[in-house]
Symmetry: C2
Amino acid sequence: MRTSQYLFSTLKETPNDAQVVSHQLMLRSGMIRPMASGLYNWLPTGVKVLKKVENIIREEMNKGGAIEVLMPVVQPAELWQESGRWQDYGAELLRFTDRGKRDFVLGPTHEEVITDLIRREISSYKQLPLNLYQIQTKFRDEVRPRFGVMRSREFVMKDAYSFHTTKESLQQTYDVMYQVYSNIFNRLNLDFRAVQADTGSIGGSASHEFQVLAQSGEDDVVFSTESDFAANIELAEAVAVGERSQPTKAMELVDTPNAKTIAELVEQFNLPIEKTAKTLIVKGATEEQPLIALILRGDHELNEVKAQKHPLVADPLEFADEATIKAKIGAGVGSLGVVNLPIPAVIDRSVALMSDFTVGANIDGKHYFNVNWERDVALPEIFDLRNVVDGDPSPDGKGTLQIKRGIEVGHIFQLGTKYSEAMKATVQGEDGKPLVITMGCYGVGVTRVVAAAIEQNHDERGIIWSSDEIAPFTVAIVPMNMYKSESVQQFAEELYHTLQSQGVDVIFDDRKERPGVMFADMELIGVPHMVVIGEKNLANGEIEYKNRRTGERQMIAKDELLAFLKENVKA
Amino acid sequence: MRTSQYLFSTLKETPNDAQVVSHQLMLRSGMIRPMASGLYNWLPTGVKVLKKVENIIREEMNKGGAIEVLMPVVQPAELWQESGRWQDYGAELLRFTDRGKRDFVLGPTHEEVITDLIRREISSYKQLPLNLYQIQTKFRDEVRPRFGVMRSREFVMKDAYSFHTTKESLQQTYDVMYQVYSNIFNRLNLDFRAVQADTGSIGGSASHEFQVLAQSGEDDVVFSTESDFAANIELAEAVAVGERSQPTKAMELVDTPNAKTIAELVEQFNLPIEKTAKTLIVKGATEEQPLIALILRGDHELNEVKAQKHPLVADPLEFADEATIKAKIGAGVGSLGVVNLPIPAVIDRSVALMSDFTVGANIDGKHYFNVNWERDVALPEIFDLRNVVDGDPSPDGKGTLQIKRGIEVGHIFQLGTKYSEAMKATVQGEDGKPLVITMGCYGVGVTRVVAAAIEQNHDERGIIWSSDEIAPFTVAIVPMNMYKSESVQQFAEELYHTLQSQGVDVIFDDRKERPGVMFADMELIGVPHMVVIGEKNLANGEIEYKNRRTGERQMIAKDELLAFLKENVKA
């Protein structure tokens, strides 16, 4: 491609409204342009990357035995009513009526459509297992679209759905998909973690998120420094190791009129924060026990997903209001504690190991100092209630935990029978009786992968493509003052034609621009290999080569250039 | 691909509701399944064909210098309001509101979106010409979706838009696109015609439709037997050759009480139909002349598109009602004619050559026989008013016209400044002044191409793919009784692996089915090359080969099979 005949559209300035690097660079490099809130046009440079990512995903899915289909964007409401999600999905599900006043949705996902297809198409256990995928446009009416294509309303997704007669068969395909996803993100050369994820309200037995590590990520990813343990923060188990120390001081009731928070308490009384405990009051799961106290170390954060799994705690978790607390316990939220508490308490594992610690006294303006379990108060039920923190021991006993920000680019999920039961998708089993199909689903946010790759790999000059395979162009030919030098022009044109004929995805900067502008543009869009042709070098039989990733420059003998590129261009 | 691990889904019976062959065969071969009215799921066999067609189109568009982009399916109403089509487009434009109550449409086409993109992206004449395309899902809320994916509501389209500073530049790109489209349909090996088409209300100066010839087509395609003249029926010029004969009989007023139609008149009075003329009354373009008579030979059909181009005739054409006609002329529609007619008449070219002909007398129940121009009535204005018929002379003077049914699969169009003017898309011209951009647009109905290819190429056994390049699989391996013959199984498995490793798109029928079922299925989905492996043949060192297109069978020496396939498989 010649830049003069291309819609190149790079920008020198960073647009004001772009908050994250990938959004800024996708705008600056001319990959995307906003059309309306959460809706983007993909310009040529963007489409080239997008299609390359799509093809890698397609190839790896095919290798994994998945079969491509294509389902409509527009889906009839009846299917969503059948699954129950017409009611449950909320305002992100865009609903509309057609000219005949029938209800439809713009598909944010395709469980309903494919379950409907399969229940009509598949009748016998002999036809299973089956794993079908599509690469297709989806729509989610985000309340606050942001970060460019990372959280847009319209996006491209690869979604796959597998169908089985047994859980073992589902597990097999799930394992294959885990490997396929690992292959995809390894082939894209991204630093990612496959983390255990919460299966949440969908039920289902197993789920992994594929997270690309990047500072701007919206998720916290937890992983061990020494093993392959990885989980998202909601799920990562917090273990407490060691023994509880013996009491050393007597319990004491202290006036703390100005300490309404742990921070104030710690500051005013010069206490180590890990010797304090905070008490959070949440609604109970039953009417008999309408309030439950959750107790954590002062420096720890409550993990709501974990807490709501406790049988005494209402799911979803809901905090009690101040008036209710005051009425029941007789003190405000700044003075609560486990001593003389009139409601059931659940304590975090770390709290169980504390000694000589400080808690609210359930009397406004007072705390108990030097509390000790069993001596001063009975040990309540122990549960994993908190978010892990950097340096916590890994739950598998190997190494310690690190927490990094991640961008979720893939998610695999054992759905079980949620949709097949609701939609009566059965096959005839081996025994001749109807058998409810067991399902898995597997998604990759294709447009989001493009953004995540940039978010993880860039520098002050622009995008660095993690793999030559997804660079919009692999080789840039940058001739210096071509329109004043016949030898430069001739060599550049010949090189362009030769590389094109070899199938190399080459961009030839034939604009009448200063070399500095050309270099900046090629580095901005991240072309991995740059060939700079100058008149003097050429006269010496040399060509300058610059590697975008390493930043290294070197001179290559003219006659060895093609061999050098063949050796170094990996796409 | 092994059939046992594939969603094969062929049907023995032809579904009742499928009226055209392509729809029947796409259902029977397991290419598509209906989800709702005008909405289809594409099963694996269908997707394979669809993606191959997409890739051919993409390759040829790229060769023609067009550049791929991707625009959203969901488009803001503001852009359609700006172009005026929010009002004009009618109920096929699906409109809806998002969660913020803003108006949007599901894009049936993208002129507005791309004009908006270009007016923001392009500022100088130096950046033009530019030709951008996308391959993307579109939606048109058809009042009566039919013929499967041929006229569905959701469909895949390749749409391109070009941008220019001059008409000459537009013409250049238009010519390139004409050639690109010809290349695409030639590469698909389809029998098609590029026909001149009416530019209609959009204005614009030139337009060609690409029509695949097939009996079930909804359009009439006219072309010369001896030249490359081709036009759609709306546009094809009807020429009248020869001289008018001299009058031979005296004009006569005849009672024709039971002849209200040309058919009745011809039958009751034994007249040659080409010696009769019919008179149609339409609304005039001005209030001064509210009614206009259009006069055609009894055996000819009015061409409404041509008629409404006449300056006296209202555009769009509208027939006058019976009461108005009676009030003005004094006779009913069965007795109208050009003699003593109180309103202006326009006659078709053929009518001008008639002599001794019969017309209504403008008196109920009476006709004039043996009317002659100039002797009995002045010659009115002559105009091309009729549809051409088979055997008419070609307007270019070479050969005669043939009419066949066609399926419109592509359309290229010189839009001019319709959208750029309405949406104020200008660039700075060479003289520094703003210049309204000139546009062209170029569409291929990708999903429709698949149906049209089948509509044109099939037999009683199923689909015949016009080119190996778009067959879902190019080679079928059909082993006979594989599970009872180790040698058959071993050879089949080895062949499968070898072909796969060579990149051949091979399907291996490893089902435990009777050979007849396998043959029927492979012929139904139209695999062009079938390799049949039988135990006896194998023992003789031979493999049976069957060609789907020619139906020919031949024995190939086992050792020559790979070379034979390499020679004959064209994809």
